[in-house]
Structure formats: C-alpha cells, structure tokens
C-alpha cells in the first residue's frame, strides 16, 4: 500500500466516463414506427388473412378501450403522475350503469356512471394534490376501494343489460365501430390539448421539474387535479363501452387494465421520470401490442407462448428505443 504503483492504479478507477447530455435528432416516434411496420410486414408474410381492412378493424376494436384510457394515462405520466385505479374504475362505473339500467332507466345509469368517473378522478386528485400523497400509493388504494365497491353494487354477480348495444357495436362509417371512433376523438382531442394549450405545456413542465414549474407560476395542483378528472371520465367512458359490447357488466371486468395502460404508455416513449412523451407515441405503442396479439392468434400460437412473446417484444421495443436515444446523442 505504500508503493507508488498501487496508489496510482487505484486512482484510475476514479476517472469515469463523462455523462453526455441527450440530444435528439431523430423524431421521437420514428423508431417505434419502424418497429410497427416491421411487425406488420412479418405477419403479412406469415398469414394470408392478416392484411385486410376487416382484420385491421379487429385490431383497432381490441385496443379501443385500453386506448381511451391510455391517452389520459400518457398525459398523467408526462406530468410525473400515475393512475393505477383505472381497471377498478372501469368495472365500478360499468356495474353501476348496469345496476341502474336493470331497474328501468338506461339514461340514469349512464348519467351515474359518468358522475362516478368524475368522482373517482376528484378523489384521486384530492389525495394527490391537497393531501400530498404520492399518486402511485393513492391510486393503489382507490384501485382496491373501487374494485370492492363494484363487488358490493353487483353483489359479486354479473349484471346483464339489454337495449344498450349501440355504443359498443354500431358501425356508422366504413364499417368502423363506435369505440374505435371514440378512441380516435379522445386521442385527437388530447393530442391538441397537449400541443396547443397552456394546460398541456404545464403538464410537461410539472413532469420535467415540479420545483421550477412552481417558480414560473404554473398552478400545478389545479392542473394535476384536472388530469385525474379526465382520467376518471375516460374510465367511465371505457366502462360504458365494455357494458355495451358485452351486454353485461361484471365486477371482475378490466382486471389488470392498469398494466396494459402503463405498458402502452411506456412503449410509446413517455419517460417514467416525467416531462417526456407524446399521445401519438402511445397510439403507436398500443398498435404494436394490438398487432402482435392479433398476429399471434392468426398464426395459431399457443396462448401460453403468446404471453412470452409479448414480454419479449416489449423488452425488444424498449431496448430499440434506448438504442435510438444513444445514437441520437453525440
């Protein structure tokens, strides 16, 4: 230890590589788009029935409800927030609607479901912004509460609804089902909000640096509250669509939906650290998952292996994205 060499060799470990600031030259969603196209080409070659308008509509219909909820979820994650209560909220609002619909009036049911969505958003927002509880903890708690309440309202049973199939199954234009149109409208609306409003800018600012956001006068609490309310309302919409599609509401509907949502949002390029992400990125993320699920079914892959494939794909797509960031940084 008293030799010259030992001391200096130890010191060499001190000088580590200098961290480089990320510089983006390639558009954020370009890599994901390439990935999606590759996926489509793969299934097109492998399956004769994949590349058809009807099949595309199948794919879009399958991702519609997740999409309607993942779009506000993207907005929340951009602001550094999470909503894990979405699955429970969908089940609760759906069951509530079905319960009152069976007692005679479908319109009362719809109204109550939307009111419940609003209430769930307000409750989540209240705990996060007024009490100051971390969003993950808050929505983990409301996840349990509303799943439980869904069981209470329905007495643990599936409730069937008749005469409410238009919302979920009508196909007004080009054979496109209503839920897909709704997803499009929600996505387009929030894309514009994120891009062209002070509220959208505030979401990015809060996620990028909450302290700095406060110091430039962003009303963070109000903005986060509004974002949770939008998420709650989207859940009500999702709940209603599922009831309409299935003709019944079950308290076990949409279990694990929060994971599908988070997967799509992260896959779409939103940063877990907040401040980064786009609505269009999330849509591409949803499509990557949707195309894969659809393609694997068409190829007749064993359902157990489908899960494995989904996991591998997610890891691959995210790695691909990291690689893009590293190539973009010089």
């Amino acid at each position: 230890m008293t030799t010259d060499g030992a001391a200096s060799s130890g010191a060499s470990a001190v000088a580590g590589p200098v961290a480089t600031a990320g510089r983006r030259r390639i558009p954020e969603t370009a890599a994901l788009m390439v990935f999606l196209i590759a996926e489509v080409i793969f299934f097109w070659i492998k399956s004769p029935v994949f590349f058809a308008w009807d099949n595309f509509l199948n794919i879009l219909t399958a991702i519609a409800v997740t999409g309607i909820i993942a779009v506000p979820g993207t907005m929340l994650l951009i602001a550094g927030q999470f909503d894990l209560s979405v699955g429970s909220a969908v089940a609760f609002t759906g069951v509530l609607m079905a319960h009152y619909a069976t007692e005679g009036d479908i319109r009362t049911g719809i109204f109550l479901a939307i009111l419940a969505g609003l209430g769930i958003g307000l409750i989540n927002g209240f705990f996060v912004t007024v009490i100051g509880v971390n969003a993950i903890i808050t929505t983990l708690a409301t996840l349990a509460v509303f799943r439980g309440l869904a069981e209470v309202v329905s007495d643990g049973q599936s409730v069937s609804v008749t005469g409410f199939d238009a919302l979920g199954t009508n196909r007004p234009f080009f054979d496109i089902p209503v839920p897909v149109i709704i997803m499009g409208v929600v996505a387009l609306g929030l894309w514009a909000v994120m891009k062209y409003t002070v509220f959208g800018r505030s979401m990015y600012a809060i996620g990028a640096n909450p302290v700095a956001a406060r110091l430039v006068g962003v009303r963070s609490r109000r903005a986060i509250m509004v974002a949770f309310v939008i998420s709650g309302l989207a859940c009500a919409l999702g709940g209603l669509i599922l009831v309409s599609q299935l003709g019944s509401a079950s308290p076990l509907t949409a279990t694990g939906l929060e994971l599908s949502v988070v997967t799509a949002v992260i896959l779409g390029g939103a940063s877990l650290n907040g401040g980064r992400g786009t609505i269009q990125g999330t849509l591409i993320g949803l499509l990557i998952i949707g195309v894969l699920n659809n393609g694997l079914v068409l190829l007749g892959v064993d359902p157990f292996w489908q899960d494995v494939a989904r996991g591998v794909l997610l890891a691959a797509a995210v790695s691909f994205d990291q690689l893009r960031i590293r190539l973009g940084a010089t």
Partner: protein
C-alpha cells in the same frame, strides 16, 4: 509519531484549462493550516486531490515522506486522510450511531454488531464532549449537530489528517464556536488539519499557518501571527481589483416610491428587522456568505417565504405575496440559485423554458398557445441576450452551456415584462465571458426601468454589477455601500467582520 502531509508541484487541468499551476503545500501534525482564496482559486480542487477524489496531472503527494503520484478515496482513507465536505454527506434516515460508522459498520460473519456500533459512537461523541441521542435519525437534528456527526464519522477511523471545506458556511455563531473547539481538540491530539474558509475572522481564531491561492498559484504562505488582515485581503483579491469596472451611475432617477421596499421585515430564522429599498432603474446587491440570509430575502420577495414581521411594498403599496404565481402577477421575477434543480426544465426545448411564465399572456383566450408564438418569444431574446445556441427554438435546454442556460432563464423574465427582478447567485457555474454578458444584460434591463435585487456571495459580482450594496451577515444588514465605496476590499473586510 510526527505525521506530515505535503504536496510538491501539483498541477491539474480541466478541459484544457490549467487550474493548479504547480502548488506546494505543507500540513504537519498538530497544526491548523488555513487555505484561503477566491471562488475558483483552486482550493477545492487541491484538497480533492489530497482526499483521493481526483488524480493530479503532475506533481506528487507526500505522506510521511512517502511519495505518491496520486491517491484514490480508499487509499487516502487508509493513510488516515479524511475530508468533511461543504455539503452534508450523511444518510438522513439512519440514526446518529449508524451514521458515525457509515460504511464501516462492525460486522461478524456479515451480521451487524449493534452493541459495538453504539459503543463506538458513544465513545467518539464522548471524546468530542457532545451529547446526542444515538438512536435519533440525523434528519431530525439541527444542521450544526449533523455536522458534528460528520466530524465524529471522520474520527471513527484512524484519522491523521482532517480536511474541512468551509465547515461554518451553514452554521450559527454558537455552532461555529463549538466547531472551533473540536478543531483545537484535534490539533492537541496531533491531527494535521487543513481548513478552507472565506471568513478572515476564523483564520485569526484557529489557524496556525495560512496559505493563499489565487488563480491556481500559491501567492502567500506564512504564520498567521505575523500577517495582518490587510495583507491577507490584498493577497486574496490581488491584481484583479484593477480589472473590475464599476457600472455607470444610473440615469436620472424617477421620483416616486421605490419599486421594492422592505420595512422592518423579518422571516423566521432567516432574517430580522430588515429595511431595504430598490428603485426602478437601480441594481442593488445583497452581499453575504451562504447562510447570511441574502437568498432568503429574495425568496421572501417572491412569495416563497412568508414574512413573520414587517411589511413588503411594491411601488409604495403594501403586498402580501403568498405564492410565486401571485408574485409573477405583481410583476416580480426570480432567478433561483440552483439552475438545474429549481430553474430549468432540462429535457424540454429552450423556447418552452423561456416562455413558461408568459404562457398566460402569449396564449389566446388564456389557453391556446402555438409553438410558433413560443418560438417568436425565444427569437425576441436570442440575439438581445447573445444566447449562443443552434438558434433553434426546439433545441433541448440541457444541451446549452451553463452561461447560455442562465441567459435563457433571464430571458424568461424579460419576456414576462417583470418590473422587479430578483437574482440569486446569477453567475454561479458560469464562465467568465458569459458572466460579462449577463452583467451587461442586467445593466441594460435596469436602464430600461427594471428594479434589480441581486443576492450574491461573490464580491467581484457586486463591484461590477451593483449601484448600491447591503452587506449581510447572519440575517441582518451590517452596512450599506454606494458608488466608489463599493470595492472588493471594503466588501471582504465588512463581511469578514
């Protein structure tokens, strides 16, 4: 045992700029060496090299006569060299006892020996003659007490040389006095001490010898008893005094109430009974060391810190600003001290960073904003502030250099048309060239009628920027200097009192 830590001809460069030009240093056992110098003189780099944080480019470190070309943290520690940093480096949620042995918990077959851990902590605190609850998490302690824990930790090993980097910066007077007692105790026990400080009064109190660095060169070394304060100050400040140009006196002042005024204002422990006026068109500095309360006054003026007494007035009207949003609406802007943590949206585009507080004004119907409007706002100030970038509003903020980042954040309040601008340490971490440009921008803002308050610990900044300066220490204004009285010597002498 007569331990001795020495260096011979230490050189170090960062990015092609040499910051240490062959420095010799000598710290014998049982003696306190005070290391003095301006910001950027190279003190911190030198002691980091001693503690193994960085390898020197040339020169050697001699420990008891054995030469090393460089040290790493583990071998430095093994040789008995320990350093206490300016910022606390404890683990806030762990207890006092756990922190004292941090990284060296006594173990048997991988299992922590809690009894031994507590005994060791108790013994060290006992030696220091301090009483602290061994089981209290350190986050519950006062800053001074946490510093004691850090010292205790430094002593838990075999410490033969202790380096303290501005240890009193955040301490109250009483806590500082206690720290000096520890330093003397350690000297008696034969520890070699290297003590970095900005406060000249401390040098006389505890140091045996003093060494002054300026721009990476050793300019004065000697016995404290044989040097007077004037010699120390001029050695520290040096020739650079002549290079500092005072700003031109402000043009005719408008009559009317001051843009910003504090009357007998107090805020908790931060400052008390403070009277301060800033006129429109004037740059006033609040000069003091970190912890003297300068930044806290600026925070109070921005609604971040409630006044516990007295009043604040804007244009002669008493206001109570309870949030930054209200302050911005009242025409006040703040440039915080920590650019990365408090100021910037690092991952966002520059245009967004610049226009953030102006969003409500730039937007149609208060909400609708386009990237084009933000880009236009950015371009308005890009040339005016000499921001050197790719001139691309979408450029990510983090890719700009420190000086240019600061210019964007300054542009923020220009775009927002703030009438009162509060700047906290505006050129910290900014290189010399950009610094001058920032000063020019601030002066031209003032010429345009903005009232500017600068909270700073850099006296050269005061000389070059301020029409008037209030020198603060421990939450009170000691003296106000104006015009030609604002010199580095006067400031150093007043603040060090």
């Amino acid at each position: 045992m007569s331990f001795r830590l020495q260096t011979r001809g230490i050189r170090k460069s960062f990015g092609g700029v040499e910051v240490l030009h062959g420095v010799d240093l000598d710290a014998p056992a049982g003696s306190v060496l005070a290391l003095l110098g301006e910001n950027g003189a190279g003190k911190s780099t030198l002691v980091k090299i001693l503690a193994g944080g960085q390898p020197p480019d040339a020169g050697e470190i001699l420990v008891d006569g054995t030469a090393y070309s460089s040290l790493d943290p583990v071998s430095a520690r093994g040789l008995g060299i320990t350093m206490i940093f300016q910022e606390l480096t404890d683990a806030p949620t762990l207890t006092v006892a756990e922190n004292i042995s941090l990284g060296q918990w006594p173990r048997r077959r991988g299992i922590v020996q809690w009894g031994e851990l507590r005994r060791r902590a108790a013994r060290i605190l006992d030696e220091l003659e301090v009483e602290l609850d061994l089981d209290a998490p350190v986050s519950t302690l006062r800053i001074g007490e946490r510093q004691v824990v850090e010292i205790a930790r430094a002593l838990s090993g075999e410490t033969r040389c202790l380096i303290l980097d501005e240890p009193t910066a955040a301490l109250s007077h009483q806590e500082a006095t206690q720290l000096f007692t520890f330093v003397r105790q350690l000297r008696e026990r034969g520890v070699a001490l290297i003590y970095i400080t900005h406060r000249l009064d401390e040098v006389g109190l505890i140091a045996d010898r003093v060494q002054i660095l300026r721009d990476g060169d050793e300019v004065l070394t000697g016995e404290v008893a044989k040097l007077d304060r004037r010699e120390l100050v001029s050695a520290m400040v040096g020739r650079t005094v002549d290079d500092l140009r005072r700003p031109d006196a402000p043009a005719l002042r408008l009559s009317g109430p001051p843009a910003l005024r504090f009357r007998h204002a107090s805020s908790g422990d931060a400052f008390a009974d403070l009277d301060l006026e800033v006129d429109a068109g004037e740059v006033v500095a609040l000069y003091g060391k970190i912890g003297s309360g300068t930044g806290e006054v600026a925070e109070a003026a921005f609604g971040l810190r409630p006044l516990s007494g007295g009043t604040m007035e804007l244009d002669g009207e008493a206001v109570t600003l309870s949030s930054p949003t209200k302050a911005i609406d009242a025409g006040v802007g703040l440039l915080p001290a920590d650019r990365q943590r408090q100021g910037a949206f690092m991952v966002r585009p520059v245009a967004e960073n610049l226009s953030a507080p102006s969003w409500p004004r730039l937007a149609r119907f208060g909400q609708l904003i386009t990237g084009r409007r933000e880009a236009a706002a950015y371009r308005r100030w890009h040339d005016e502030l000499h921001i050197r970038s790719r001139d691309e509003p979408g450029q990510v903020f983090a890719t700009l250099s420190g000086g240019n980042q600061q210019k964007v954040l300054l542009g923020r309040w220009l775009e927002c048309r703030s009438r009162v601008l509060l700047l906290i340490e505006p050129t910290r971490g900014v290189d010399v060239g950009a610094r001058q440009e920032i000063y020019r921008s601030v002066r031209s803002l003032a010429a345009g009628g903005v009232a500017v308050l600068v909270a700073t610990s850099d006296h050269e900044e005061v000389v070059q920027l301020a029409d008037r300066v209030a020198v603060m220490s421990r939450g009170a204004i000691l003296e106000t200097l104006e015009g030609d009285d604002v010199t580095s010597e006067r400031l150093a002498a007043t603040a060090g009192r």
